[in-house]
């Protein structure tokens, strides 16, 4: 599912479809987060983190590209969705997300 969502995020022609694909990705990551919360143990969290780790580079790449695109086109639904996906991914990946810090922080500060 993840490669399919990433493909849609990258290749769909219409912004609305890109937004929907990003929303699916957000729901999937949030599901992994919620599962880890419900289980309440570090094992579930680590397991879910590992599960997504292999895809993290391509997801981050897509999110980064979509954030730029949404700002350029001034399309707020996509901006909101991309930021939510980013929050969920950073929350799940925790310290593993640190390598992507410099890619997003300057842009986010600018938005703020």
């Amino acid at each position: 599912m993840v490669p399919q969502f990433v493909k849609m995020m990258n290749e769909e022609e219409h912004l609305k479809m890109k937004q929907q694909a990003t929303a699916c990705m957000t729901s999937l990551i949030r599901g992994l987060l919620d599962e880890a919360d419900e289980e309440g143990d570090d094992d579930s969290n680590t397991k879910n983190k590992k599960l997504l780790e292999q895809f993290s580079e391509s997801i981050v790449e897509s999110i980064s590209r979509l954030l730029e695109l949404s700002l350029e086109k001034k399309y707020q639904p996509l901006q909101d969705e991309v930021l939510m996906a980013l929050s969920c991914l950073a929350s799940l990946m925790e310290n593993k997300f640190a390598v992507h810090y410099s890619r997003f922080m300057p842009g986010l500060k600018k938005i703020l």
Binding site: L83, A90, S91, E94, F104, K109, L112
Partner: protein, 249 residues
């Protein structure tokens, strides 16, 4: 969008909390911007930024640790203001309304019609204010936990707000978070044993009142939660044993 952006920043900064040299400067800049919005941004009570900003600042606190102390005089009073909000719980006559409703100010109302009772009653409260209170106390708890003894200067003011909330009538979340916050405030007084003792005893009195109330209602889950919290608070006094001091004399 600002709200989502703030949330994303909070999580991204958390990801680099163990490498402060990377995030220190950004954390300070972001914290200044967020506090400016929170204090001078004319945010309404229902604005989602209120919650995301306070959450993000508490995450920044983890990154900055002791360096976060400089922001406490700006941030803590804003949180205390939220924690002291009135939820405006009311019961009044209401013959012309029906069912449940919520207005744009976050005031939720429920109309009750009881067989045998003349006329209908409307029960209402400001749920936005209640959410703000719970969020503010949760953030104060996070600050106290993360800053430890560096939070000492704020113990009196925060304690004054949190101790009465241990017996809050309307919200279990508020009672629970207040008790937890007191645990960390007691911990923040580690270097002042007498004050630590006094703070614990004031907290303990309210917790025992709450325990009695729950006992009368056979609410055993609540009783268990209160007793566990008292036990955790007492762990703050392990160092008393080495110094030959007692909590209760």
């Amino acid at each position: 969008m600002r709200s989502n952006c703030t949330e994303a920043i909070g999580y991204i900064l958390t990801s680099v909390k163990n490498t402060p040299e990377i995030c220190r400067q950004d954390s300070i800049e972001v914290c200044q911007m967020l506090l400016e919005t929170l204090i001078n941004g004319n945010l309404t009570e229902a604005d989602p930024q209120n919650e995301t900003i306070t959450n993000a600042i508490s995450q920044i606190c983890v990154c900055l640790k002791d360096d976060f102390k400089q922001f406490l005089p700006l941030f803590v009073p804003a949180l205390l203001k939220d924690a002291n909000k009135d939820i405006d719980f009311k019961v009044k006559e209401s013959d012309d309304l029906d069912g449940e409703e919520e207005d744009e100010n976050g005031r939720a109302a429920l109309v009750l019609k009881i067989k045998g009772m003349e006329g209908a009653k409307q029960v209402s409260m400001n749920t936005n204010a209640l959410e703000s209170k719970i969020n503010a106390v949760t953030i104060l708890k996070t600050l106290a936990r993360n800053l430890g003894t560096s939070f000492y200067d704020w113990v009196d003011e925060v304690g004054k707000t949190c101790i009465p909330l241990i017996n809050d009538q309307y919200s279990y979340a508020l009672r629970r978070q207040s008790s937890k916050c007191m645990r960390f405030l007691i911990g923040a007084c580690k270097e002042q044993p007498e004050k630590q003792k006094a703070l614990f005893i004031m907290t303990y009195i309210n917790e025992m009142q709450e325990l009695e109330k729950r006992k009368g209602r056979n609410e055993y889950d609540m009783m268990s939660s209160i007793l566990k919290e008292i036990f955790k608070q007492l762990k703050n006094f392990y160092h008393f044993r080495d110094q030959g001091i007692h909590v209760f004399t």
